[in-house]
Symmetry: C2
Subunit: 208 residues, 2 copies
DNA sequence: GAATGTGAAGGTTTTCACAGCA
DNA sequence: TGCTGTGAAAACCTTCACATTC
């Protein structure tokens, strides 16, 4: 299969969300045009995106909401569950543990790590906080497939290196740093600073 | 000026971060090649990006670190400060208030709104929490330029409509919904669910 | 000699436009 | 008739390559 672009995946996420809503409203069929409108894309875009994965629609009619939703779920890997570990239980880490979307998407937080002695050994919303010193060993033992980095920027690269060393190949990063990972590791960063800079640019260049 | 692409703005953010580091290390000059290497871009890309805004380098030498940093800051609007309001002080909102990067980028949280009577009227890290009922009036009175939406998804569109109604044209959204805004409003969403779906896709399609 | 700044070339993504099917 | 699925065209973004400048 041809390599699928990042933007296509992002849009699939959005289609998925729209389809969830439609399903709740008992809509059974939707056209590329309507699906496009609710996300400000073009109908052709929607059809192209979907066409990379097969043909799910009926000519003259549109797409079956529930089937398409399931199909996208399977493309995005939302049917499976993944073993996740969180490193760092500060403000961000803490918010993440209570973030329901996580579970809903099949990301199960199995382990939490921190370096703060006051936190280690205690329970955090039902999950025991382990010493970050045992990271490597425990990641392997618990078959962790993804790690969330929510430590201060200054520590982030060190943690990433250990995580990669333990064989984890998918990382979600919340630190504001340029992290280096080998080719075969997927790293996505939720870079608030960058979002802010986009907004700042928009604000500064707004037509009045 | 030709419209600047989103990706160029994202990269400027990253260059900016690199330049900050270099300045701390007392490096005075940097070539497009070095700037590229530290972010996994190409030298040509760096030069193109910068060329949209002027010519800041010296042929045969490179770019002056401190000047280039300031120049990018001014492009991204980081020299100015913006009046910001936060709507919703749950897990996310709360984490945002303590997020230092915010202030550093010139986003000053002037107002916090919530609909929870237990929170209204109380102080939250030095900022008084107001009733979301007074949103429209208070946004105008305080000359708020940007609003952060950190309310449950079900409420988000309602809040956005009010915010837009009050004349705010820049919104940072943390709710997991497709929000609708008029053409002239800049909306950026920090969509965790989307990030997760990218990772989920990566995990599901990882070559073993 | 070394590195910028930039047209032109090369890629990738998006949109167009229409054949094909319900 | 109405809407999908898809090659082809257009738009957009990235890289190349070199003239230009220090």
């Amino acid at each position: 299969m041809r390599r699928i672009s990042e933007s296509t995946i992002s849009r699939l996420s959005l289609y998925y969300r729209t389809l969830e809503t439609l399903q709740r409203e008992n809509v059974t069929t939707i056209s590329s045009g309507e699906l496009a409108r609710s996300n400000k894309f073009t109908p052709a875009q929607v059809r192209k995106d979907l066409s990379f994965f097969g043909s799910f629609g009926t000519r003259g009619l549109g797409y079956p909401v529930s089937e398409l939703k399931d199909k996208i779920a399977s493309i995005l890997g939302l049917c499976k569950t993944w073993n996740v570990a969180l490193v760092g239980v500060g403000n961000v880490g803490s918010a993440l543990v209570s973030y329901k979307e996580f579970q809903r998407q099949g990301f199960i937080i199995k382990k939490i790590f921190d370096n703060d002695l006051r936190k280690i050994g205690k329970n955090h919303k039902g999950i025991l906080v382990s010493d970050v010193k045992n990271l490597n060993m425990e990641l392997k033992e618990n078959k962790i497939e993804m790690v969330i980095i929510a430590v201060p920027s200054s520590e982030a690269q060190k943690v990433v290196d250990e995580v990669v060393g333990a064989g984890v190949r998918t990382i979600l990063n919340f630190a504001t740093t340029n992290l280096k990972v080998p080719e075969n590791v997927v790293l996505r960063s939720v870079n608030m600073a960058m979002e802010l800079e986009h907004l700042s640019y928009a604000l500064a260049n707004q037509k009045r």
